[in-house]
Symmetry: C2
Subunit: 461 residues, 2 copies
């Protein structure tokens, strides 16, 4: 019986800000990053990989929080953990001192997500199944036992959750066959970053259409005039029947969101994504009432299941864009998927960044197989960046995710990537001004030990 003997934690950052990949009205210089953990057992062939996604600075803080979250796993029996994935989640989450830093939000929650992503990867590897299949082979009771239902009973009871899963259990196989044949539908954001020129935008939209996509998403919110010009280009390329989504990345107050979106309504967007603060349930509800029939979508910054509960209760959104790393892994994702099914809201997960596509394909596939049983209005994000760094990258064909077949959660980064992009000492960063400045700061100020001792930090000047 293998035991968990230790773990490695890496601060991995990619210099995506150099190419304006990922630029939007809020995030103009994102360096896509992963705070990454590999759980080791005394069987070298059995390990689990997980991460949370960030966009640069602060990835080190997440890595430090992951180290703290993962410590209690050392010495535990891997099979016991994999046999009670709800139990280990509750044990890790129970730490009341760490809870104070949230609860269930921000860095400590991202870190719990990364650690539990690694635990689920370990469990799927141990079972010899891709994660979606591990989940699909579980009974309704087993799934509910692994689901974090705390604080949700006014919206979803355990019995209701069981009922939703039991209803679809007998027909799971037919939906597995359907997805095996057609894949899970996705859309692309690769075309629409704000930093791209009009020519690049037009070319990328055309390429997306040529590749079989029927949905295209554009970033908006920096300049109304530019939004109108760019949306006109995109609408022209995809035609009147194509689905055009727009994404403001939280730049507006509520009244401003309503005003701005109305002025883009001529382009018939399918949804406006993140029109305002991700925490503003009542604000999203007000925007939704005002901009109908344009749908409201949010969730990539949806901090936890309690926020999503309220978004459902307040009829604030038309599309639920949960995030595989911001929620505390599969245990909390299941809760949101089940609530969405009860309230009849399609789940269209956030992806992109680094590795999010690899994770959410499993979640969407399972959602269709066992929770929603429906593809209507469902389309999962896909961004064609950075997949080459993964051992088991997602595959998209004809606008759909192909069913993953390799055991695990598709979360493993290549060894060479770690050596190259670990910040700031990896071979890539060591050759940059940014990496060298960070190394000098740490060497000069012992900043690396600031959290752990009483370090004095002085300017170099």
């Amino acid at each position: 019986m293998p035991k968990i003997t230790g773990f490695d934690v890496f601060d991995v950052r990619f210099p995506t800000s150099l190419s304006a990949d990922g630029s939007d009205a809020m995030n103009h210089d994102a360096d896509y990053s992963a705070a990454y953990i590999v759980l080791r057992t005394d069987d070298p062939a059995l390990y689990g990989c997980g991460f949370t996604f960030t966009i640069g600075r602060g990835n080190d803080i997440c890595a430090a929080a992951i180290e703290l979250r993962a410590r209690p796993l050392i010495g535990q029996d891997a099979e016991e953990i994999c046999g009670d994935l709800g139990g280990i989640y509750r044990n890790l989450k129970r730490d009341s001192q760490l809870r104070w830093l949230g609860p269930d939000k921000g860095v400590e929650h991202l870190a719990l997500g990364a650690v539990m992503n690694a635990v689920w990867d370990l469990a799927a590897r141990q079972a010899g199944k891709p994660l979606w299949q591990l989940l699909s082979d579980m009974t309704p009771e087993q799934i509910v036992d692994a689901t974090d239902l705390s604080y949700l009973s006014d919206a979803l009871t355990r019995e209701e959750a069981l009922g939703l899963l039991t209803r679809l259990a007998p027909t799971r196989d037919q939906r597995i066959r359907q997805l095996t044949e057609n894949g899970y539908p996705c859309y692309t954001t690769s075309a629409g970053w704000l930093g791209y020129s009009d020519e690049k935008l037009r070319r990328l939209c055309q390429e997306a259409v040529d590749q079989g996509y029927r949905h295209i998403k554009l970033k908006v919110g920096a300049s109304l005039e530019e939004d109108i010009r760019r949306l006109a280009i995109a609408r022209e390329v995809i035609g009147p029947d194509g689905n055009l989504m727009i994404d403001a990345n939280q730049v507006w107050d509520v009244p401003q969101a309503i005003d701005w979106v109305k002025q883009l309504s001529e382009f018939n967007p399918m949804w406006i994504e993140e029109p305002t603060s991700p925490d503003d349930v009542l604000g999203h509800a007000e925007i939704r009432r005002a901009v109908q029939p344009i749908g409201v979508a949010t969730g990539e910054h949806g901090m936890n299941r309690v926020l999503f509960k309220q978004l459902f209760q307040a009829a604030a959104i038309d599309y639920c864009q949960l995030d595989a790393c911001r929620l505390a892994s599969v245990n909390e994702v299941l809760a949101v998927q089940l609530m969405a099914a009860k309230f009849g809201i399609p789940v269209c997960p956030h992806a992109g960044g680094v590795g999010l596509c690899e994770l959410v394909q499993h979640l969407s596939i399972f959602d269709f197989i066992a929770v929603s049983g429906d593809l209507t209005g469902r389309v999962t994000e896909f961004v064609d960046h950075l997949h080459e760094h993964f051992v088991d990258p997602c595959i998209v064909k004809d606008g759909a995710y192909v069913m993953p077949a390799t055991p695990g959660y598709s979360a493993e980064l290549k060894e060479q990537t770690l050596q190259e992009y670990a910040f700031p000492y990896g071979t890539y960063w060591a050759g940059t001004d940014t990496g060298q400045a960070e190394q000098a700061w740490r060497a000069g100020n012992q900043a690396g030990r600031v959290a752990f001792a009483s370090a004095r930090i002085e300017t170099q000047a």
Copy 2:
């Protein structure tokens, strides 16, 4: 013109779990802690102290986040910063990469709060005034310029904020005189921790009454039977006219909260505090409707101004218990105080822990002088723990905070405290099993560098 030349960051922890101080239904082993920063200038006599409050593990994560948040201050002109306290706040907050870790919540927000607390302390020291007076001497325009109004315009416009402050500006002096004479009313939580015996509870309640308190708060939520027994004792001691508050520290789901609180209604509590998840605006609104006339109070885990906006909009609370460290310092506190004034909700700040009393006395005093102009229903928490570690501790007389007179934000810890309680190398911790185990872990695993390199962490066994 002094420049900011550097800063010190300390992970300070007090072993309060040993005495069951701070024990409640959620937090049974709190070690009150401060992630503490001292900003230095090239004038040794001019510095600023700030912190965020945590309850133990993870205080190191906050310290690391503080280090990252404070770096951009190095080299800046101290007078310029102190002359534009809204500008420096927005500059620090603007970091879009760190924003991803929240936004405006969890560790990165706690860290921003600590750094800005130090900046406000610096500004008050530079002006030679206690913080409440620095604020009270500002014009309505200056106050609004320092206030974080982002995402709030659907509830409070800049013009409304100005109007609230302008209305009370001519009469500020009379309220200053009133507080100088009587102090700002407070209540005590020192009596009611769950870990205390019935005898200790009875004795502490009696002592509180003898000291002039007319409000007493008890922790509830672990056992209904025990709650009834303990509330009967407290009610007996303080008499039918004393104010009894109860605090569940988030242990209930919404339906359970309603049921439990109704069973305690015979003791006529003034408020039920934190009945459920601090994120659950709609849940608090539902509980409030169900348990009236018992009031609903929350806010010590209120993550940001957007949450408080919704609590006001949804008529979810009767008392607003903002926290001086969980909100991003004075800049965000002002926003919540102004909204509370507009919606007519009394602000009764959370305090206790370590140093929170020292901070909130300034905030409550300013609230009365310039924002609410009203003491009705207002009472600020006071817990008589750990004040001996502060250079300028708060003083409470006859159930009221005495107006602080020393320049600054009363946030400075004594040098000896830092040497003794820095974790895990301070003289106190170095002599404990906990401190020695942590030192061994860090030495053996280089965990201190996990966030900064590619560190392998293995079990010692």
